[in-house]
Symmetry: C2
Subunit: 222 residues, 2 copies
DNA sequence: GCCTTAACGCAAGAGGACTGGCATTTGGAC
DNA sequence: GTCCAAATGCCAGTCCTCTTGCGTTAAGGC
């Protein structure tokens, strides 16, 4: 997990000192408030006070707290060390443990909890969260591609589906049920996903692919 | 899935006609508003108008919209037909398909989405949701117990863990990512959980049991 | 260094959640 | 039928989110 502070607003027509300073201050203040009070008790005016700017500025640039949280995604981008392993199970264990480890980082946990909460209310936040998660699955997909190359799992196995199966029980406990999750849970999830992938369960028929971040053809209903 | 309308407020000291009428009207109005507008756009005063009562009454009896949503749980209790099957996979398929089917019911979907959203913000709502889900897992646990009796999965297999593994990917897609979920996804989830259970993955060491609705000993951390 | 204007600060206000006071209705005991 | 109190209705008010108008500051081209 690597923090990469963005120094200026990308789309801004005037990305100079003050604008960038404001953005950084607001994002930092928001993250601090999220850690201290949680998403439900985070107030925009307190963020403004903390960042030493006017609340109006926040509403003008972000529109709402939700959009600040979404904007924070770039600051909390993650990386994961995969590739030199000899088995899918090892790689998935790494993935699952990384999810648990990220959850132990107060800043990351507070932010992702906020993202999940926002996603349950606003379609745009939901899209943003889906995009973040899809990007993470993309990063981890190499584990499945290697496993296919090794002949460990059948060709045509959908990497996203495998990663999803790995992290789903963890996410559910961490962000919905609010239950503690440890390495043992991570390992169990990784093993379960490996078994399913080896059994060819995630070889999806063409047209029902859970592609990278762009759901074109939805799974056939009913 | 069976709807069982409660006719009066259980803890009320005056469960007579008007009180019960008010409660029913509010719950029905809330459900209707949830279906029409979603949790984020559901306003308490509109519920009051729809139920032909004063908003003050709602705030006095429930305190907030969140508590009405929690209160709706009793009205939306579910049942599931399990028991005569010959294999764990069949039973888990039934469970997974029931989850998908429930999600296709507008009222149930709107309510559960609201519950999830509320759970991400309020500890009490989170507890209520956990309790609802734990109760559902309890109902489904018979499938695992039968499988143990048949010798299909090892003794000591934790039923809740098996059910959780079955429904986790479905819940995640339905209520967090907002992606469509069909019977194929349900069957895949059921098969994956069956494989893992047969492999003895959910035989938990004593002390780390994910018991029925009462998490006494949390999974060891770090 | 000057000028344009994007970005910001301040103040006023709308809308929704929630509370408390007080009058009114009504269930249920007698 | 009478009566008490719980439940409800109405109203005024607070708090927070978010918007809008207008004056001020400062970034970046010249």
């Amino acid at each position: 997990m690597t923090q990469q502070p963005t120094s200026h607003a990308p789309g801004s027509r005037r990305p100079g000192g003050r604008t960038a300073r404001t953005r950084t201050a607001v994002l930092e203040a928001t993250l601090a408030e999220l850690v201290e009070n949680g998403y439900a008790d985070t107030r925009v005016d307190r963020i403004a006070t903390r960042a030493n700017i006017a609340a109006t500025t926040i509403y003008r640039r972000w529109g709402s707290l939700e959009n600040i949280v979404v904007d924070l995604a770039d600051e909390l981008a993650v990386t994961i060390g995969l590739g030199e392993s000899a088995s899918l199970e090892d790689d998935l264990r790494t993935v699952a443990r990384a999810v648990v480890t990220l959850n132990e980082d107060p800043a990351h946990r507070a932010w992702l909890q906020a993202m999940v909460s926002a996603a349950t209310r606003s379609p745009s936040a939901r899209t943003a969260l889906s995009s973040v998660l899809a990007h993470r699955r993309d990063i981890c997909s190499v584990a499945v591609r290697d496993a296919i190359a090794r002949g460990e799992v059948p060709a045509g196995t959908d990497p996203h589906e495998v990663i999803r199966a790995t992290v789903a029980p963890l996410y559910l406990r961490m962000y919905i049920n609010g239950e503690p999750v440890g390495p043992a849970d991570a390992d169990r999830a990784a093993t379960a996903a490996t078994l399913a992938a080896r059994a060819g369960l995630y070889v999806l028929p063409p047209g029902s692919a859970t592609g990278p971040a762009t759901p074109e053809a939805p799974t056939p209903e009913a």
